[in-house]
Symmetry: C2
Subunit: 274 residues, 2 copies
């Protein structure tokens, strides 16, 4: 398999450039990429050092390097362009066409993408993360009237990471509630969730996958037995169907996909905060 | 202030397109953008419906719409291009140049960016989130030998959201430990942290900002008084300096900036997982 060193270079965090580079490079699965991220390249010395590092790799690999960049400081980008590299700058590609489309010049302000643009908005994001922490795993049910949504499912069906993602990136107040054997007998949504049923979303998972996840936590326990996993999942799915709660299977999808699917299913207005 | 409706359209989650659009649009602070995200546009009917929605907005606003897209299915993109819109497709712009640079064709595989590409990698990300949850606020110190890093600071200095971000996006095992008055007398890193001091990073914050954050939690308490906030912060900073722990002020930077700064300061190999 051919391999290439890829640099992600930015005068800020480099997070946007790194995520975009992953999206793009994932379309070339037959090349092995070795990624080096250089964030906060925000003075002349750092730019010079980055160029030296990029050039050294180009010399040692025998071809120019590949660089994904996001620079708000255009002088630094211009200098970076002199490196022995194919430089793809995400702002460079799109800000020009956007300027033409919008009819106004760009501000070239630093720190907009992941900076604190709006203090109230930022504070609400932090509050949402603390809310998700404080409302994890069925605790603080008194918080539920404040919830934007409540995730329900058996232990280790993906509720906690998804709640945190929804809080962190969408500022949503997300509680989560574990279904346990006590609740299966009634085959209905637990009473505590009834007043909030419009905001409840169920998560389910394949029994074999659940068994693996639980075994990592408590090997050789009844909790992690395939029999127990099957029993809980069948009952949870029956409960979701019976109480008309939307639910879906999270086995082969990522946290990002789970989170955005939930937002779509519940019809929540979506806006990412970072 | 002029306003524009912006569509984010994707046959997957749309997360990459949404983040990119935020980065780009933040460079045009004098335009008010109203964003509509249409994820999972993955069949002919959904494409047709998206085009109708985009065209309606164009007609009502009196100019073409602005669309940020990421489509792995190129037929859907081609159809979307017929909408009354300026369509910026992120793959379209860069996959061609990358193909030329790498000398191999793109796979156009769906679900690579935020899908579960590598099960082991994905499982480690989930484990890291659970580790951060279980090691929050000084609990389970027995877990510290497993930590990639330990964040230290006074209550509400930003430790918890940062720990979760580092876990979620970098797969790092991050614990956090709150500094309390008991620890200030010695003016040294608490004993429990001594064996791990190479992996400790301190967070500090302006007293006035800390006061605001604490007041939201417990208004009119001694905990939220400016005097108490000042006292704790001064002592925490003294402790960091005295014990040679790297630390920095988080007051006016975002979770993303805090997280990437920590990774840089501790010299941790950085690779985002999603």
């Amino acid at each position: 398999m051919p391999s290439r060193t890829v640099f992600v270079v930015s005068d800020r965090t480099g997070i946007t450039a790194e995520l975009l580079s992953h999206s793009l490079l994932s379309q070339f699965p037959d090349v092995e990429f070795n990624q080096i991220t250089l964030p906060f390249i925000d003075d002349d010395d750092k730019v010079a050092k980055a160029i030296r590092q990029i050039d050294e790799v180009a010399d040692s690999e025998g071809h120019r390097s590949l660089v994904f960049a996001t620079f708000v400081n255009r002088q630094y980008l211009t200098r970076l362009m002199t490196a022995k590299a194919k430089v793809i700058d995400f702002f460079d590609a799109f800000v020009g066409p956007l300027e033409a489309e919008l009819g106004v010049p760009p501000a070239w302000r630093i720190g907009q993408a992941h900076g604190i643009v709006d203090k109230a908005r930022y504070a609400s994001r932090i509050s949402a993360v603390h809310y998700a922490m404080d409302s994890d795993d069925g605790v603080n049910v008194a918080n539920y009237p404040r919830a934007d949504l409540i995730l329900v499912g058996v232990s280790r069906s993906g509720k906690t990471p998804t709640s945190l993602y929804l809080a962190m990136h969408f500022g949503l107040y997300c509680a989560n509630y574990p279904l346990t054997e006590d609740e299966f007998e009634r085959d209905e949504l637990p009473n505590i969730l009834q007043p909030h049923r419009q905001r409840v979303c169920g998560l389910t998972i394949d029994a074999t996958r659940l068994q693996q996840i639980r075994a990592e936590r408590r090997a050789d326990s009844d909790y992690a037995s395939l029999r127990q996993c099957r029993y809980e999942i069948e009952n949870a799915e029956s409960l979701f169907r019976n109480s008309n709660v939307p639910y879906f299977n999270t086995t082969s999808i990522s946290i990002e996909e789970i989170a955005t699917t939930i937002i779509s299913k519940l019809g929540i207005r979506r806006e990412m905060l970072g």
